[in-house]
Symmetry: C2
Subunit: 308 residues, 2 copies
């Protein structure tokens, strides 16, 4: 069992999809990542910040999943980061309605002493300087640093982002963002350019079209499970990342073959996340449900053509 | 070795992509289907029509692949069907510039006697009445009837199209067309509705995002091979269909497990088709190249998570 340190937002989301809308509910990258990772035998902790408007009940939910929340700072008289978005009818695109940084505006992350030796460091989507600061606080370089980011940081803090990318082992990124970062339309070429920036591995997330893992000349692909209904895509990418790093932290094996399996575990968990609003589906997900759906993934992708 | 009868266009195409443009070159659904199917041990024939402006050299090319061309009618003083299109920069969408039906306008297909007992009937994209006429000319129901169609026939000849769909075992169709046909956004629901129209199996083609095979509650997915460069997508869907039916005609096994393999073979061949203009890549494709890329498909999709 490895130690997994997760840096990212713990937040309020308000979501509107063609199927309904929510008030402020539990959200944030670190929330989704940690819930997904809690499906594995890992020792995980979150570094984040919330305001004192953040319900104790949400923190208890994370704690009940054996997630160490001692490094989630609670800022007195502060307001928790709030994001609100509305999905279009095809659920593939969305408009951001509100982004209130609140306590995130001046966030100085502090890595707790007992996680400075984490095996896996997952840098969820946040300001690159926050991500850098966490890397620098580690006692020694973790066995694996995984970075997630988004176009906002490419547009506004590219030099800092490139510095973080240079220090990471695996970058997870959307297809459109990979194209923006590299000015290459072909994802094969984009992944190759990203590898030249530092990361040995690149995971390109294509939403309902699955995810690609690149390493040198090797490529692996995991489809998204075809579902009758996608209800709310919020958190699917972070859930994918959480399953991915959770499995890697549990198995402590970063061979390409094991990374393939990690991509499948991530895709598998993401397929649950989108079935209900927010974290609703993830918070009570049983091991049996997860195992059963892994079998569906096998059925979905495995074939038996014998080659000479 | 089974008998495969292919109905579809044999045509001239003029193609423009971001990488260049062609004059009138060899094209047509039956052309791509038969070239792909010729990679397998099958006894195949084309039912189609061309004008006497169609170069003998093109017919010789098909003949050299052991494709029976005796039922390609050559209309005296007729002009061959001509299609011209221009792809957008992402290669996922295109504008049709010219569609000259020419000899296709009054095409009465005649199934040759020695193929009235074909095992597999592949109905390439054509007027549903032409497809119906071919079905009716068969001595007995083929073991497998596979139908390909497009939105044009949904818009203009829906009752006739629904009649053909009701008589087929497998429908291959694009994702957008599946949605249009069923008024369902979810491809899982769309496939289920299509199965209720007749076909036991549904293949939904998603272009660069791969292909899905549905049968009852079973789903199988084959990705498109990630390529450095897609040069010209023309004919990729027909090449997929040709690999699919070619493999099924060779193996004469229509179990779901064998259909999975057929989907992989189709995807594999389509990955070659898009590498050059028109049929250029397909006409000299070697068994060794095909086999090597099947190994890449295995690498791309296979994983080894053990379930209890």
């Amino acid at each position: 069992m490895g130690k997994l340190l997760i840096v990212g937002t713990v937040a309020f989301d308000a979501i509107e999809t063609p199927f309904g809308k929510t008030d402020k509910i539990l959200g944030g990258a670190a929330t989704y990542i940690s819930l997904a990772a809690s499906q594995f035998e890992v020792d995980s902790a979150i570094v984040s910040i919330v305001g004192d408007d953040f319900p104790q009940e949400y923190l208890n939910l994370l704690k009940a999943k054996n997630i160490d929340i001692s490094a989630i700072e609670i800022e007195k008289n502060g307001k928790t980061f709030f994001w609100s978005g509305k999905y279009h009818n095809d659920l593939n695109t969305r408009d951001t309605l509100v982004t209130d940084l609140n306590v995130l505006a001046n966030f100085n992350p502090v890595v707790p002493d007992h996680f400075k030796d984490a095996d896996v460091l997952m840098l969820g989507n946040l300001h690159p300087n926050v991500q850098l600061s966490v890397i620098e606080q580690m006692e020694e370089k973790p066995k694996l640093i995984v970075l997630d980011t988004m176009n906002f940081w490419m547009n506004n803090t590219l030099p800092e982002l490139l510095e973080v990318i240079g220090k990471t082992d695996i970058l997870t990124i959307n297809d459109e963002e990979a194209r923006q970062l590299t000015h290459e339309y072909s994802l094969v070429k984009a992944a190759s350019k990203i590898q030249a920036m530092g990361p040995k591995y690149v995971v390109i997330k294509k939403g309902e079209h699955g995810a690609l893992l690149f390493h040198d000349d090797n490529v692996f692909f995991a489809p998204a499970l075809p579902l009758e209904e996608v209800f709310d895509p919020t958190g699917a990418g972070d859930t994918f990342a959480g399953g991915f790093v959770g499995f890697l932290a549990e198995t402590e094996n970063i061979s390409f073959n094991n990374l393939r399996n990690a991509v499948i575990h991530g895709s598998n968990l993401a397929s649950f996340c989108v079935e209900k609003f927010g974290t609703e589906r993830m918070k009570d997900l049983s091991k049996e449900e997860v195992e059963k759906r892994l079998e569906q993934f096998k059925q979905l992708t495995q074939f038996d053509i014998e080659l000479e």
